[in-house]
């Protein structure tokens, strides 16, 4: 697939932005600024970022409990995102949602979700609306390997294929649903084969290679937009942190396995490519990283300087 230099830089930038943001969230969590649980996307950036540049305004993305990156993909305001994670009044949801229940409809992000598989049907509904009202929108539903064993996954794929809806189902297979590996939970080795059960293409993408995800994503997006119906893309990926922050993730994974996957870091891979193809030099990369760090630092400052909601606002009418 031909992809120009600028697009490669865009993909890299998006992944790096996600990584730096998540690392900042991790730091803030350790410093005690974040109540509740957080589930970080570190290591999986190629999957969400692979959709960069091919979704339009008006398209909707629905995500999971591990959803900050998808929100960033859609162009969310980092300050409002960080503030919501910190439970502040200036967050997207005024502090009512937090990390697992973030909604930014103004940028086409219809939510992280606290219920595994719970938001897949909603993504189908968005696509149904797009078809009924002929809006040309598409819907992208991100979920994990765990969700692919849940009833809502099966019902949703059946419905989407039956009604030929403009939707892409993206399974982020990071091999573990919390602590339970796919070997112990999933009856198939490749979740992509489940596409066949529902009469839709089931593609496998290398979830540690943003260019591979991008190519598969573009194909699926074109299919959806041209009215050919849904696609299931299984992205084989891996999270470098535990299921939640505070969980080292080593009582169900080995250090060797983690090391093996860290060597496939999608950001390092793309960085090497940009340098080798002389698209951007080390100095340029360093400046980009500094710039992104400054932006994310800004969002953290905004969040920490924002007030908490007043307690009685829990009951205020919306």
């Amino acid at each position: 697939m031909k992809i120009c230099k600028e697009e490669k830089v865009e993909l890299y930038t998006m992944m790096l932005k996600m990584r730096i943001f998540e690392e900042k969230v991790s730091q803030m969590y350790r410093e005690g600024h974040i109540p509740g649980f957080i589930h970080l996307y570190i290591g999986e950036e190629a999957v969400a970022a692979g959709f960069c540049g091919i979704l339009r305004e008006g398209d909707y993305v629905v995500s999971t409990h591990r959803g900050h990156a998808h929100c960033i993909l859609r162009g969310a305001d980092l300050g409002k995102l960080m503030a919501e994670i910190c439970g502040r009044a200036t967050g997207y949801c005024k502090g009512r949602g937090g990390s697992m229940h973030i909604f930014a409809p103004e940028v086409g992000f219809l939510g992280t979700s606290g219920i595994v598989g719970g938001s897949i049907p909603m993504a189908v509904g968005v696509a149904l609306q797009a078809k009924l009202q002929r809006t040309g929108q598409i819907s992208v539903s991100f979920f994990g390997d765990g969700a692919s064993n849940n009833g809502t996954f099966h019902e949703s794929l059946n419905l989407a294929a039956l009604w030929k809806l403009p939707i892409i189902f993206v399974c982020e297979n990071n091999l573990y649903a919390s602590s339970v590996s796919t070997i112990r939970s999933t009856s198939v080795k490749d979740i992509a084969v489940r596409g066949t059960s529902y009469d839709m293409p089931g593609t496998i993408a290398d979830g540690m290679d943003v260019l591979d995800v991008h190519e598969k994503a573009l194909e699926a997006v074109n299919r959806a937009r041209s009215g050919e119906g849904p696609t299931l893309i299984e992205c084989k990926t891996y999270r470098f942190h535990g299921h939640t922050e505070g969980d080292p993730g080593l009582d169900y994974r080995t250090k060797q396995e983690l090391k093996k996957w860290r060597e496939k870091d999608p950001i390092q891979k793309m960085k090497k490519l940009l340098v080798s193809e002389k698209i951007i030099d080390e100095k340029g990369l360093s400046e980009l990283e500094h710039w992104l760090k400054a932006k994310i630092e800004e969002s953290a400052v905004f969040a920490l300087e924002s007030p908490y909601p007043k307690p009685e606002e829990a009951l205020s009418k919306l």
Binding site: Y92, R96, P105, G111
Partner: protein, 323 residues
């Protein structure tokens, strides 16, 4: 005004809204060529087409979830789940998604969906087709629960429910589909959250829902022969509840009986009884009485079913016991 059945009133309400507003559409099992299990959508598929009167596979979760997705993008889906008994199959979508979206999004998203079905014990439908657990949905913040007891209420409340911007559960008691009453031909709405005094009385306040409203009215007739004047209040919307109408009535009568086809523990009756005890204590001249279904699954055999759900005898006994 003319006399039509509650079924016909429901049909009129649905047809009115489908004709008036292109964003209204329906999904459910058997609602297309079959016209729905009780014929609530008879003729609709032919009139409005396959897109807007959509038969679905037996995928309650996906269908309720899809309704939510379509609703937050500006449509007004009316979902037919056939029997209240099937709602639990889609429980996460109802309770964790639809009910919470507005609140947890900080008001950014709203889901104007209507979830409709029949409910209640009738003939010999058995344990999986006879239930009345609407109290689960009253207990869940973010859901409105509406139960009409007359054709007039059925039409106005359903139009009101479809036009409401938040999730509404609209339940049709099976025993009332053929019940006739006067209904205007033109469109009208009944505001959600407003009770109606179906029969004025001076001695005892009763609150009843759905089919129980009619049993309460029959009991009121019999009680009148014994010199007891019974007031029958139909909340119409179980949540948000019109507390004022109920409390004003208890203030007048000093005696209260709640009649509910749901179960006792944590039922709608328990909620209203507590409310009256908390806020009308000074007006009560007798203990509050609750009449509810015995706490067992609704049995199949009609004689047992009739024993389990509140019958006139039990209701009359409750009224007599405090007067």
């Amino acid at each position: 005004m003319r006399e039509i059945t509650m079924l016909e009133a429901i049909r009129e309400a649905l047809r009115n809204e489908l004709q008036r507003d292109q964003s209204v559409f329906m999904m459910g099992e058997n609602i297309g060529p079959h016209g729905s299990v009780f014929k609530q959508t008879l003729g609709f598929w032919e009139e409005f087409g396959d897109d807007r009167i959509r038969d679905t596979p037996i995928s309650e979760s996906a269908c309720v979830g899809a309704a939510i997705g379509a609703a937050i993008c500006g449509m007004r889906p009316v979902i037919d789940l056939m029997y209240l008994d099937f709602f639990p199959v889609a429980m996460d979508q109802i309770v964790n998604q639809a009910a919470k979206l507005k609140y947890m999004s900080g008001g950014q998203l709203r889901a104007p969906i209507v979830l409709r079905s029949c409910f209640g014990a009738f003939k010999a439908d058995g344990p999986h087709h006879s239930q009345s657990f609407y109290s689960w949905f009253i207990h869940t913040p973010g859901l409105k629960v509406v139960i009409p007891s007359t054709p007039y209420d059925a039409k106005g409340l359903l139009i009101g429910a479809i036009r409401d911007n938040d999730p509404v559960i609209y339940l049709e008691h099976k025993a009332l589909y053929k019940f006739k009453g006067l209904v205007p031909e033109e469109e009208y709405t009944i505001p959600l959250g407003k009770a109606e005094i179906k029969r004025k009385g001076e001695d005892v306040t009763t609150v009843a829902t759905g089919f129980m409203v009619h049993k309460a009215l029959e009991v009121a007739d019999e009680a009148a022969n014994e010199g007891i004047s019974v007031e029958v209040i139909d909340p119409r919307t179980l949540w948000p509840l019109d507390k004022e109408t109920i409390l004003r009535s208890v203030e007048k009568t000093g005696r209260f009986v709640i009649i509910d086809e749901g179960y006792g523990p944590c039922g709608f009756g328990a909620e209203v009884a507590s409310l009256v005890a908390e806020e009308a204590f000074d007006y009560l001249d007798a203990p509050i009485k609750r009449v509810y279904s015995h706490h067992v699954p609704i049995p199949f055999s009609p004689v047992m079913k009739d024993f389990v759900i509140p019958g006139k005898d039990r209701i009359l006994e409750a009224v007599r016991s405090i007067t």
